[in-house]
Symmetry: D2
């Protein structure tokens, strides 16, 4: 089974870039499942219904989220009903939406989970325990893809190694910069610290540079907006065996003018 996982899609430039690149890539790679992190899809913060539809139209089947999950209030209207959206699993019980979803791919159940790290990011329940639980509840599923949305390399690596051999892939998101450490960990777990971003290449995390730099230097308020200009597409292609073990993980990097 071939799975394509796209990093955080940022704003309209990111959505458009995803669609344009996927037009080619779906033909080239013929992935069996396409997943993308969509926490920044709408104006860089959150996910509107319209943005979600655009991403589905582009060929993405599952959308994972992160610390920006609730930034577009509209999401409360559809997250409960849309089984294709996966928000962090380790939010408190009774949080709207779902922390994992199961989809049928080529006669096989694939579990897609999203967990959020806590270091410098959120005050949530333990992501390790949350993953343990969801795995224990689905012992028959062998194809498990984890989006670990976290700030630090140490927390992502710790989750990767702690679940090596128990899940098919641990894919990092959130920092918007792709790392060069994609590998298959012992036991058959595809791992990368961060997939990177689909969005404006010459911004700062996809946002216009000047307001970001100004705020850092002056500590005065500034309005952040999605940048324009050339766009980058960051994804990984993961190949899983019938036993759910990863055989390979391959970073994909493309640019659009």
């Amino acid at each position: 089974m071939n799975i394509l996982f796209l990093g955080d899609i940022v704003g309209e430039p990111g959505r458009r870039c995803a669609r344009e690149i996927l037009d080619e890539l779906l033909v080239e790679l013929r992935p069996d499942l396409v997943i993308a992190n969509a926490e920044n899809a709408t104006r860089g913060k959150g996910l509107s219904r319209k943005s979600a539809e655009e991403l589905y139209d582009a060929g993405i089947e599952i959308l994972t989220m992160g610390n920006h999950t609730w930034d577009q209030r509209q999401i409360f209207e559809f997250i409960d009903d849309d089984r294709r959206i996966v928000r962090p699993l380790n939010y408190p019980e009774r949080t709207p939406g779902r922390g994992f979803t199961i989809c049928r791919v080529q006669q096989v159940d694939v579990l897609i989970v999203n967990v959020m790290g806590r270091t410098f990011l959120s005050q949530l329940n333990c992501p390790f325990d949350a993953l343990d639980e969801v795995l224990a509840a689905h012992p028959q599923i062998r194809h498990v893809i984890v989006d670990v949305h976290a700030e630090t390399t140490s927390e992502k690596l710790a989750i990767g190694w702690a679940f090596a051999g128990r899940v098919s892939a641990v894919i990092g998101t959130h920092t918007h910069v792709p790392t060069a450490d994609a590998r298959v960990l012992p036991g058959g777990t595809a791992y990368i610290t961060d997939v990177g971003m689909v969005g404006p290449r010459d911004g700062i995390l996809g946002m216009r540079r000047d307001p970001v730099i100004e705020r850092m230097r002056t500590h005065l308020p500034s309005r952040f907006e999605v940048a324009d200009g050339p766009r980058q597409f960051c994804a990984v292609s993961i190949e899983l065996g019938d036993d759910g073990r990863a055989r390979s993980i391959t970073p994909i990097y493309r640019e659009l003018a």
Copy 2:
């Protein structure tokens, strides 16, 4: 001018790996200057005199530091006298050691600066202002290498872009995971968000995995130790023109059993 920059060297495995790989690489690349981040060189925390000597013997000429600068108390005995060691520039005035150093390479003065980010890392003075000042004080120097030691991708990118066209290179360190975003920014500034690490490949940031995972899961004390096993070598090779502008930046990744 060709500059080789090695990421955070972790412990004895990292030091030995640096020496072994440099043995080949110095012949292959014939760099004019070799710089390395050495904040983790001694048992993963700080820099002893003996470790520094080992790194100099291996062919490294300048050692930059970071948040672990003072972890080996011995450093106070030699940091003031050793002009090859550069600790973060934005420490308070009167901090031992120096925040930049100038070395003569092929009849050209090269300024090497180390700044530390503040987000989630340190309560120091503004790294942007500190860099502005050091550049203003050395208007005649056109070859400037900045080691930006920071936690977040946003702060590193902000410093990279803010100084694009004003320095030769902005090289990120600290996260120990190499990023796949090396490029020459407009104006001729070589940039990478993180060079990565020289040290044990299968640890977490170079440290043994189990104590790190256990502490994250249990919040109980655990003793961190440098890992063993295969090692990785992460560096970048930067080519500068006579005008100080970067022509290229090339990541180098090697492994040793």
Copy 3:
């Protein structure tokens, strides 16, 4: 000289409470100078021109600020021209407004400074160094009131003790809860870790309770609003000698239905 210092005034209930209590208190205590922290004066966040005028009308002469200084954008229109407003001194150079002000009280110059702590709060320059500098620049002034706006008790106590004997008073703000540790430190420096708040007594830091509790429990967005109901008035009365040394510091706590 008698100085009255009011803690963070929160929203319209706080402004009204300040006015009503001051009506009595100005008669009772006949203070020579009235200072208040106004960072939350307008809807709990920032300071509008109208709120500032209200506070001046109530008898407050100097307004100090904090991390909410810029929350009302309107402040950029008047902060440069209004010498009665003091924002944190350790903001970067060229920040609008002023970090200290001098006012003439009973033929004596009184210096009022506002500094912001860094622990868990802001990435500013060193508050100790900033204070050192402002004191060095005004060696002739012996009446110095410092509003230290900080999160942790340790940082406030450290500043209090570091400047004991060098300033007339170090008065903590920001946590909105009055501490019971008012005392005159050796050398004649009036100190309190936090003055407390002027605002709704039964909210959380002056804001309606339910949205605060809900956000903490659910991590979902919620709209914070200034609470209503009974109000509390927290201030300290400080008595200074002609030499600028504090003779006493007395907490004042009143309630209004």
Copy 4:
């Protein structure tokens, strides 16, 4: 029922001060139960067996803890067996020790719970949920004392108000500075944001001042030690009715030369 609750006891000076003041106070107040926070009892960090014995000898019956629970490794030898020690409840499952204890006071069961806040302090499970659970598991107990060990006033107030009417008392610890906001919340819950400290009065949180100030100013390592000199004793006396509701909470502050 009369309960005496002492704030964080710091080091040998704090332990001695507790004993000396309790000698008088036990006679004066005749409390039915004496509780103290002991996370700093041994050299300012953690709790050794010997320190615990000293505190029991002084008349303290229950010891609560906090972020320094594990600082003395010896505690692992006795925390499981000593039912008088209560470490934060919201540590992960399988953490040594217990997060609450029940003791029989005048034919009545009293539940003592310790929870830790998360803001700026720890990455634990939700303290609200943990409290909900422990209350649900003991519906028959009406006398419940909660030590909320947290950094921010907002988190302590939120827990206080969220459990007002459901527990007998919510008593804050950790900041080592007593607050002046003791009151009985609606529903009969005694509340104070922080009890304060039992320990050296003229240190910073009970530690020698100079190393603390120096580290804050220089960011160089410094060794923290418990201070000497005059000591302060901070406690609250809480009076509960037979229905478990608080009738009063009275701060107690004493000093020893």
